[in-house]
């Protein structure tokens, strides 16, 4: 759900814009540290992936379908800084090319959908991994929790902005119930798909799951044990 122009008043839009600029500034530095000169192609392709993954519709409940937002997923796969950059670039392109989300609301959209989802999602993920045993199941579980919390968190952030600068006086309690209620449902779908995606990447290329980098065991050199009775005879049928 991209916020259009005129949904929030000018001061809040400008303030959110400032937050977004600051956040992206920090992310730019962090991403350069994570990826150095590989940043542009890798973050670019990941952004293309996030953009494409948002097209995957999954059935939520009888007849309705939702689609992936991808904040938590991107953060877990490529790290929080690159994740923020990817989701922000996707939002920027959606606003510029598809008119999806207003240009004056771009700051709001980036703050709510890139910064909040990535920070909350990645924070939850790392906290859980710290206490859980270091197994693939706990990575999947933490991804689930990260995504399921990140979506309503973004709805709460939006509600807070709406409380300060909303242009229609709907009681905040009503906005909050509706937004959080809907987004808990979306969050469950997001969480399922995030958890299985992370776990399937972890099975094939564990080195590409940034959030679980400390789970990778160093490669060990295995040599064939010298066997006692010489090489075993191949069995004949």
């Amino acid at each position: 759900m991209h916020v259009p122009d005129g949904f929030l008043d000018a001061p809040v839009s400008v303030a959110a814009g400032a937050v977004a600029v600051a956040g992206i500034g920090v992310a730019l530095r962090g991403a350069r540290r994570e990826l150095d000169d590989r940043t542009a192609p890798l973050a670019g392709l990941t952004a293309a992936f996030v953009f494409a993954a948002q097209m995957i519709n999954f059935p939520v409940a009888s007849g309705t379908s939702g689609h992936l937002l991808g904040g938590a997923l991107a953060a877990i796969l490529v790290g929080p800084y690159t994740g923020i950059l990817c989701v922000s670039v996707v939002l920027l392109m959606q606003a510029l090319l598809f008119a999806d989300g207003g240009l004056t609301a771009l700051g709001v959209n980036i703050s709510v959908m890139a910064l909040v989802t990535v920070l909350v999602g990645y924070g939850t993920f790392r906290l859980l991994l710290r206490v859980l045993p270091k197994t693939r199941a706990s990575v999947a579980g933490s991804s689930f929790a990260a995504a399921v919390i990140s979506v309503p968190a973004s709805a709460v952030a939006f509600t807070l902005l709406y409380a300060v600068g909303g242009t229609a006086d709907v009681p905040i309690a009503k906005v909050a119930t509706a937004m959080v209620g809907v987004h808990v449902l979306i969050g469950v779908g997001e969480a399922l798909i995030t958890a299985v995606t992370v776990s399937s990447v972890l099975a094939v290329r564990p080195d590409l799951v940034h959030g679980a980098h400390d789970l990778i065991k160093p490669l060990e050199l295995r040599t064939a044990e010298p066997q006692a009775g010489g090489p075993a005879e191949p069995s004949r049928a």
Binding site: A53, L97, A168, T197, R205
Partner: protein, 258 residues
């Protein structure tokens, strides 16, 4: 909800042409659209006539750029989720109520709904006109000209260039799933869809690694070479300023009139 994008859509947004609007440098158009939308958002919602004038201004731009009305109308559907929200507002907002067709509706809710519909639609149409008259590649050069950090525009360039490739890969996976009898019916479909997403991520990321190596072998040093520049003359800036200046007069008038 980004419901509007289908596979391989990025190059269908631009409507080729050689109108004066097409020929303006991208950075001028970007600044003009941003200023216009800001002015629209800052207009008091009680001045119905102001919004009508804004709409006429945009219609003027569309006519100059020879963008067919249908093209714009088709893309406005991106707004639908928020239109739905706007229609709910009069029912949930509080405050004084008026009776419309015998149903008690909140007055402030009606104002809120009008506000979102009018300003949101004007913003969407302005963005659609910008994307229809500017090639995506030039749009990126434009934001780079406006001091957007180079890394952001580089990421955006890669996203645009490979967006269609990645989307096509996703499309092929969909065909492969369908030809094996898969149909997303309920939650059990998640496993299959998420495995596809995982495979898609791996393919995208590994493609990124190959692209990076290819770039290195062609002498990439962290900056993209500038193949052609899009400088703007004072005359072009003035031409682009026509829209926001006209809008500024309207905004001013809207604030002054009681």
């Amino acid at each position: 909800m980004g419901a509007g994008h289908a596979v391989g859509v990025t190059h269908r947004l631009y409507v080729p042409g050689a109108s004066p609007v097409h020929r303006l440098p991208p950075q001028c158009k970007l600044v003009a659209v941003l200023a216009f939308v800001l002015l629209v958002v800052a207009t008091p919602r009680e001045r119905f006539w102001a919004f009508a004038v804004y709409a006429l201004l945009l219609a003027g731009v569309a006519a100059t750029a020879r963008i067919p009305f249908r093209t714009v109308a088709k893309r406005v559907v991106i707004e639908v989720p928020f239109v739905a929200f706007a229609f709910l507002l009069p029912f949930v907002a509080t405050g004084e109520e008026t009776a419309v067709l015998g149903v008690g509706l909140s007055e402030s809710g009606l104002w809120g709904a009008w506000n979102i519909l009018a300003k949101g639609t004007l913003g969407v149409v302005a963005s659609i006109l910008l994307a229809a008259t500017t090639e995506p590649r030039l749009l990126l050069l434009g934001i780079e000209r406006l001091r957007m950090p180079q890394l952001i525009t580089q990421i955006a360039t890669f996203m645009l260039r490979y967006g269609d490739v990645v989307a096509a890969e996703l499309g092929r996976m969909k065909v492969a799933r369908a030809s094996r009898g898969f149909e997303a019916r309920d939650l059990r479909a998640t496993r299959v869809l998420a495995t596809s997403a995982g495979a898609l991520f791996l393919r995208s990321y590994e493609r990124g690694e190959r692209v990076h190596l290819a770039m290195l072998s062609r002498g990439y040093d962290g900056r993209m070479p500038l193949t052609h520049d899009v400088g703007a003359t004072a005359a072009q800036w003035t031409a682009a300023a026509a829209l926001p200046l006209a809008a500024a007069l309207v905004t001013l008038a809207a604030w002054m009139t009681p």
